[in-house]
Assembly symmetry: C2
Homo-oligomer: 202 residues x 2
DNA sequence: ACTTGTTTTAAACACTTGTTTAATTTCTGT
DNA sequence: ACAGAAATTAAACAAGTGTTTAAAACAAGT
């Protein structure tokens, strides 16, 4: 824990860590306070309620989660390169934030956060023009005909699931941490190759 | 709720429903009791504790979750047919139990269920001989060289994720229920084609 | 040193949690 | 009809929950 952080930031950092690993209903305000090394009342002093603090963390997490997509797709690259780099970046990012995919998808399911406009995040991706670009490539016959939403589902499945199912895979297939990491790298390689082979005609 | 069910079964049914939608830490004993239409004490009278009841539900859910895999892979079919049918069955099954994948993968993450031997379930798949069969096909050059664990991760990603991310997709992509169902069917079609194209050489 | 405002704390509040107790109702065999 | 067992209930228990209160500690300016 950094020394010259403000109290507010210390709480945020602790809250993020606890919320991400245990979820909203899986932890208590006191647990967060303890993780931040301070009194329970301070949490509410700065953030008014557990729910409000959570909303903050959730919104920030969602932005993080979407950023890589937006960043990559805005770049001036060939479609195929965009996909290739996106997969690479997504694996890299989720390796550093392994709990994020699970967190987002779980907490969004319990619809306590309806105040938050999720679609807005995604519109930034839409605005990058990558969809139009893809549809143009489809008309030109350069890529396979596929609905854009289905394509997104296809890509996200292969990028998110391996991180979400970490413990499931480890327990089920009796893998240790190293084995999991190896499978992850392998998986990334195959996913990239498979998706590009399948989508792009040559 | 069926009339001639035993009390025990009514509680189990209610508990399954509540646990699957909210998770262990997301619900209370009283909530389960109320869903079953009876007193809290009865829940503990039959199952001793919330944790023990949960363990029962979890184990049963895990068996359900693994059954389709085992059933399909034990059949006497061509490898390609096995994969094709597995995907079909998995989509069918998860359409009827949309919360199951999320439930299993989430609750396995919070390691409160370490007593349960997860690997045992999977050994049944291993024992079906499908792995050996696949490795043989690899040596014969009929299928692409790929580590079996990576292959499993590849298949499960595409089968589980679309159901786990239901609300995420709906909110993010502003889809309604119908749009989601359409994407799901589309996705299944593409996944099947893509995986088979990629794995099997002809 | 004193005042003013901010930050932090311990304590309390009302309520929910999982679990148990003891009493009551319902069932079952005689 | 009765006795004994099983099923069900209301009530209580201690511990934990989110949140608030009121007092203390701290900081800065005068």
């Amino acid at each position: 824990m950094n020394k010259d952080q403000t109290t507010e930031d210390k709480i945020k950092e602790a809250a993020r860590s606890v919320f991400l690993s245990k979820g909203f209903s899986g932890c208590s305000s006191r647990e967060i306070a303890k993780a931040a090394g301070m009194n329970v009342a301070l949490v509410n002093y700065y953030f008014r309620s557990k729910q409000k603090l959570f909303s903050l963390i959730f919104a920030a997490a969602m932005e993080d989660f979407m950023r890589s997509m937006i960043e990559v797709f805005q770049q001036d690259l060939q479609l195929e390169e965009k996909l290739r780099i996106y997969i690479e970046k997504e694996y890299e990012f989720l390796s550093q934030h392994p709990e994020l995919a699970n967190f987002i998808i779980n907490e969004i399911k319990q619809e306590q956060h309806s105040f938050f406009d999720h679609a807005e995040q995604f519109n930034q991706v839409r605005d990058s023009g990558v969809f139009a670009e893809f549809e143009l490539a489809q008309e030109r016959g350069e890529v396979r005909k596929i609905d854009i939403l289905t394509l997104i589902l296809l890509i996200l499945s292969n990028c998110h699931y391996p991180f979400m199912a970490k413990n499931f895979m480890k327990e089920m297939l009796s893998m240790d941490d190293h084995g999991y990491q190896v499978s992850l790298q392998e998986h990334k390689k195959f996913v990239t190759e498979m998706l590009i082979n399948y989508l792009f005609k040559r």
